[in-house]
Symmetry: C2
Subunit: 343 residues, 2 copies
């Protein structure tokens, strides 16, 4: 594997053993990404034999230099921090190390989220000025856009300065990747007034108010789907609960529709006739269609995906990583955080 | 107005100036409640002249002894705690005082939530063993039942013992009012494992585990609509955000349906044909249909409603207060909390 500077392609290390359908979906997604963008060069990190077998079964061809052998596999039951010591020869840890060592530009994994977070934070390291990396989730809004919520579970018991950093990182991501000119930043709270909130948000309010961000003040739970703000910041404990609540809406609607249909034949016919339309209306809510979520604040590009990610989702994660690379996002994070520190 | 003991009826004081359509909806709702349950005796607290006028306009008859004059009106901009001093002659403060003085069994208001909370807490007072009163919201579940979430905004920055108390109060309410035999109590967190959570929930987990409640462990954001637990406890900051997020789902679906319909005539026809069915499927999500939410932990029955409450919602709030009275709920709260304190 050559040094990064000798290669114009964007090298992306993928944890080939990460997801529920590994390494199959990882391989298929990687091929699709490389097909779509010839400047993408994927490195499949994982059990070499299994990877080769899956490549063969799928009738694909692959440069063997792009397979990085890793003996161990991290599963969902592994303790995130223990993994760094006990599974140093895992695809997850090795993938992060490739970025750390400058041999890959980005790391993509659909494995144990906590372990990816730990590996990225402790192996790749944090950007100067970032106390805690953050995971964001882009929720659909009723206006057809997205509202990115930070943090959705990278850490809990955040302090005001952490929420402020999420706002800085999220705002840059919204501007550069979602191409929103001057992203509106909202602070998730229990009332619009400055005086409403808990200890942490009251402190965050002051920091945001004094910053150069386009801070629109407190927003409430209802403002996420309304699209009042482009970026919403909150503690990871809250963001995670909201994200999972939102993910359960489709199941709720399906169950309600079914119980309505079960009441009579007429109802059944009514439901049957609207099924296709409803599906189209709800498609923005279907998180299965989404790719991964970015882990921001670490000193390298890192995307985390659902364990159940489809090849399409994995392809999208890889292309998103490539986009972050093309836009030199990590450098922008660094420069912006430095400018805040210099003040 | 006679003493409570001399009257077998359940006397309910209603803040007749509370809601957005006061006193009209309050009057209509009160009449409907008294019609439906002859053992309900409502006291309309508010500006006597306005109340009399609204009664006349609606062509109703009302015993003038049941109108308690109050000169002042609390609005949404009043500071909750200041109200107690500056607006002691308001319908909101006077209504709470009627309960405190033993002249009414319950207080119902659709006014300024913070002010009702303050009036109930400081005038009616807390039950011994309750550090913080709590407001619960019954969310619909996909299994057709409800999941009651405490706290949805009575207080923020709760400690573990507060969440524990919410669980005790909510569990009794679910058993007595929702008639669930042995209510399953879940602790809202970011993972099912005991080790997952923030400082507050980790402490709450221990308290719940050692209690006699039917504690099923941590539940996640997705478990609320799934109906995994009958009672879910969390800090009021989080509960309030989830409640408002949930309330925004209908608006989101309406907007998405509309933008789909706007795309073509065929789409428009498809949406038109499914509109009625969709409305029926979604009706459980429509919070406009709900009555108020109970304020638990104060030493008297208190129900708080949406400012926009319809006469039907107000009737339901009054009948719910009556049910709490019939079931002697305050005494059960007291006895149970005493039994915990005695241990």
């Amino acid at each position: 594997m050559s040094e990064l500077k000798n290669n114009l392609k964007c090298k992306i290390a993928i944890d080939a053993m990460g997801g529920d359908f590994a390494p199959n979906n990882e391989i298929l997604g990687s091929f699709q990404a490389m097909n779509e963008d010839p400047d993408v060069e994927v490195f499949l990190v994982g059990k070499k034999e299994e990877i080769l077998k899956a490549i063969e079964i799928n009738g694909l061809k692959f440069n063997h230099d792009q397979i990085i052998d890793a003996e161990q596999v991290v599963d969902m039951y592994d303790s995130p921090t223990a993994v760094l010591k006990t599974k140093s020869d895992s695809s997850l840890v090795k993938g992060a190390k490739l970025v750390k060592d400058g041999l890959a530009h980005a790391f993509v994994s659909t494995g144990n989220t906590g372990a990816v977070l730990a590996a990225a934070t402790f192996i790749i390291g944090r950007i100067e000025g970032v106390s805690r990396p953050t995971i964001g989730a882009a929720m659909p809004t009723q206006t057809g856009g997205t509202c990115s919520v930070y943090d959705v579970g990278a850490s809990v018991d955040s302090k005001s300065k952490h929420l402020f950093e999420y706002a800085v990182l999220g705002s840059i991501f919204a501007r550069e990747i979602h191409q929103i000119k001057n992203p509106k930043v909202g602070l998730l709270s229990v009332g619009e007034e400055e005086s409403k909130g808990n200890e942490v948000t009251l402190g965050t309010y002051k920091l945001l108010k004094e910053s150069e961000l386009n801070f629109i003040g407190n927003v409430e739970g209802r403002d996420i789907l309304k699209g009042t703000a482009d970026v919403v910041v909150c503690d990871g404990f809250i963001g995670n609960i909201i994200l999972k609540f939102a993910e359960s809406i489709i199941g709720f609607l399906k169950a309600k529709t079914k119980s309505f249909a079960d009441k009579s034949l007429v109802n059944k016919l009514k439901v049957l006739s609207m099924k296709g339309t409803l599906k189209k209306v709800l498609k923005d809510l279907d998180y299965q269609n989404y790719g991964g979520v970015p882990l921001l604040g670490v000193n390298g590009i890192c995307i985390i995906g659902h364990g159940s990610s489809s090849p399409l989702a994995i392809k999208n994660m890889i292309l998103r990583a490539k986009e972050m690379y093309d836009k030199n996002l990590i450098q922008t994070f660094k420069d912006t955080l430095k400018s805040y520190a210099d003040k």
